[in-house]
Symmetry: C2
Subunit: 200 residues, 2 copies
DNA sequence: GTCTATACAATGATAGAC
DNA sequence: GTCTATCATTGTATAGAC
């Protein structure tokens, strides 16, 4: 028999979600979250590095998804196809059932500068991991970097559209549309540049 | 006659630079900085929003530089020429004499996760401002976003090279070289995409 | 309008007991 | 793993001094 109730982490997450929804992020203290979960502040900080991390639960898995997605792209893929593989792998983290949850988290994020800073950092971590794995595949570091930025933009942009949309549908569809639009924008940029330099 | 010693902000910056160099960022407390400057903690936090901001002194001006640089690009410029104008404007913030200082700041940044997070946030603020002003000029939002990412990469990448380089020279030269390299990478990406889609 | 004094709330770390 | 307890530090708030 366990000497304490199981799933402390899950209880903390649940308590935090409730309290953040009730009073907002800043008005909720770490001690209050712990108390509602039937635990203490010390235990909370054993499970989460800091208060902000509670809201980014599971985000760390995105890095591995992107890297594995890129690594798993078939040989002979074009650079954009490799990128697609990495970005669409990210979408598997967000099933349609969680869309309502994500809306709530999104609202919290925009309420606190502290959380926005952390969100930007997470985004940059994903971008950097993606850039690294693309660089392994593409042997041109700068091309890999540009693709990583572009892919992450499509992912986050698609995510925002998906969250805001009234109709249910898979995130991957929206993101794929975004990716195609960015691809077109880069294509026109490339050809515009070539045309203008050819004109000289 | 002043009733107190002037230039409190300057003294705080100087005291912080000394203490950070002596003991590192984390081992220096806000109270110690204030004390060495002959002030109190309260005053320090009147001049800086938080401890991290002490190390990003002046960074906020970069946003205006980028925006004004883009806005000042001559009519009829190509998208890349507009971008050049914005990015090279950023370089005016960093005269060659400050290169040694920047090296010290750079070392501190890599010593603390807290500072890295703030640095990433500053970078994203600059990117976002640049993206906005490029979007005004270029009427294609996604193209503007890709260019902003690319330009900021050239700026930060060039900055790192400039910091590390043993030879003295203007930052703008290094950054211009980076920009050209990224431009070439995007050009080849665009034509590769066009070629591969044409081949179908 | 800038600084000081004091008190305060909250984060996060640490040590030792169960 | 969790708890109690204590602690340093950040950052805020208030009221007053010059």
């Amino acid at each position: 028999m366990a000497r304490w109730e199981p799933d402390a982490r899950g209880r903390l997450l649940h308590a935090a979600a409730d309290l953040f929804a009730e009073r907002g992020y800043e008005a909720t203290t770490a001690a209050q979250i712990a108390e509602r979960a039937g635990l203490t502040k010390t235990t909370l900080f054993r499970h989460f590095a800091d208060k902000r991390e509670i809201l980014f639960q599971g985000q760390d898995a995105l890095v591995a998804l992107a890297v594995d997605g890129v690594a798993g792209a078939p040989a002979g893929s074009t650079p954009f196809e490799v990128l697609h593989a990495g970005i669409l792998a990210l979408c598997t983290m967000h099933p349609a059932e969680q869309r309502a949850n994500q809306r709530g988290i999104d609202a919290l994020l925009s309420s606190s500068p502290e959380l926005q800073e952390r969100a930007v950092f997470k985004r940059s971590t994903i971008t950097e991991a993606l850039r690294g794995s693309l660089a392994d595949r593409l042997d041109d570091g700068r091309r890999a970097a540009v693709l990583a930025d572009l892919g992450v933009r499509a992912y986050y942009g698609g995510f925002a559209v998906w969250i805001a949309s009234p109709v249910d549908g898979p995130l991957a569809d929206v993101v794929a549309t975004e990716l195609a639009a960015y691809e077109a924008a880069v294509g026109s940029l490339g050809s515009a540049t070539l045309a203008s330099s050819a004109a000289r």
